[in-house]
Structure formats: C-alpha cells, structure tokens
Symmetry: C2
Subunit: 135 residues, 2 copies
C-alpha cells in the first residue's frame, strides 16, 4: 500500500497516467516555462484539451510543478530544480520580451520589508526585459 502521489492540500491519493507522465516530462525537460496552449500544441493528440487543464492542476496540487503568471496574464508552468519538496516559491521569474520565454531564476530571491499586519502566503516576482540570448 505504498502511495505514489498525493494532493498535498487535500491529502487525497492521485494516480499516474500516461498523459500525466508525458506532460511532466515535457515540463521537466523544457528550458522555459510552458503555457497550457504550448503544451497542447507540443503534445498533439496525447489527450484532450480539458485533460491537460486537469493534469496541470493536479501536478500543481501535488507540488510537483508551479505556476508562473506572466506579465500579459498568461499562466505558465515550470518545475523547480531545487530539492526541497514543499516550498515557498519565492524566486524571481524572467520574461523575455523578444523570445517570449519565461524562465525561473531560482537563485534570485528578492528582499522586501512589508508591514506586520499583512500575512504573506505566496509570492510572484516577475521581471521582464531582454534575456542573455536576446540582449
């Protein structure tokens, strides 16, 4: 009765499927964060469009991948490379205006001072401009 994966919020057992594995591989091996539509195009007929939404939600809730909100409002998905499993996702993301790639900068963690009467649960720091490849 070994459980392979769980939704860390609801402590509900989840399952591994072919589509889930393929999408996770895609995200893991990508050098930039991917949106739903990008994944949809890259996977062709792997599975239904709705299934991709559900798989992405599942992977996020399992804390395997994380969401990044791009400056135009599009949501992208990436996999952290650091080891810690349950994590506050407090690093910077860079959104290149030319090649349109969004990348995690896991070693850039901004510091800020916020009044004590706020409780911070999550963080989304995005810088945009030109990446090294496009500069």
């Amino acid at each position: 009765m070994q459980q392979c994966c769980v939704n860390i919020l609801h402590m509900k057992v989840t399952r591994n499927t072919a589509a889930k594995g393929a999408i996770l591989d895609l995200i893991t091996n990508s050098d930039s964060a991917l949106s739903h539509s990008e994944i949809h195009k890259l996977t062709a007929d792997l599975c239904d469009r709705v299934t991709i939404y559900r798989i992405l939600d599942r992977l996020v809730n399992e804390d395997v991948i994380h969401k990044i909100v791009n400056l135009d409002g599009t949501i992208k998905y990436a996999k952290c490379h650091h080891a810690n499993h349950v994590h506050i996702h407090n690093h910077v993301h860079f959104s290149c205006e030319k090649c349109l790639k969004v990348t995690c900068m896991e070693n850039v963690q901004p510091s800020y001072i916020i009044p004590r009467n706020y409780k911070v649960n999550d963080v989304n720091f995005t810088l945009s401009g030109l990446c090294p490849n496009c500069l």
Copy 2:
C-alpha cells in the same frame, strides 16, 4: 494647439471622452485595483464592453494608469499616487486571498540582484495572503 494627452510610446494625440473620464475617475477613487469586468459592472451602461478594453489600453499607453497581473492571471488596473509621470513601476502589489482586493504598496520596493547579462525593463511583484482588514 495645446495637446491634452498623448500616447507616450507612439507620440500620437489621444482624446478625452466622457467614458474615458468616468473610468479614470472610478480607478482614481478606488481603494483597490479594478479589473475589466469589475469596471464593466460598476459603470453599467456607460459604454460598450469593447470600449472599456480600448479605454484601459489607452490610459495605460498614456502612462496614466498601470496594469497589475494578479496571481490568478486576471489583469487589474490602478492609478499611482506618486507624482513622477514616466516611471518604472517597481513597487509591490498585495493580493488578498479573502477579500480579493489588490492594492498598490507604493512604499515597498524590493531589492534583488540579477546578473548583468539581463536587461530589466519592467517589474511585477505581487504578494498574496491576508490583508490587514482580513487578518
């Protein structure tokens, strides 16, 4: 031949209209950032849905208001209260998970160190959690 307002990117003359004035007032007097749909509801029959999109774009391009991308990908609009006109918009935004309000924290400006081979043009820092009213 005094020009009232211009698109600062294209240096093109823009015009003031009743709908534009009303929407700017709404945003100026709001204590939190507003989305297109919120503005649409608040203005009732002021103008067409499409016109609101175009007015918001115009106000952003005139550098009168600014966009804030919320953690769920929804885009909100706010007006800075500081004086400087053309500005890098580098302050933090706070997104409350309970009351769902998004507010500018103009005096919170994070510091970060990014490699020199990146060129930063814009910044979007959003914190989410509980605001003082909801804590």
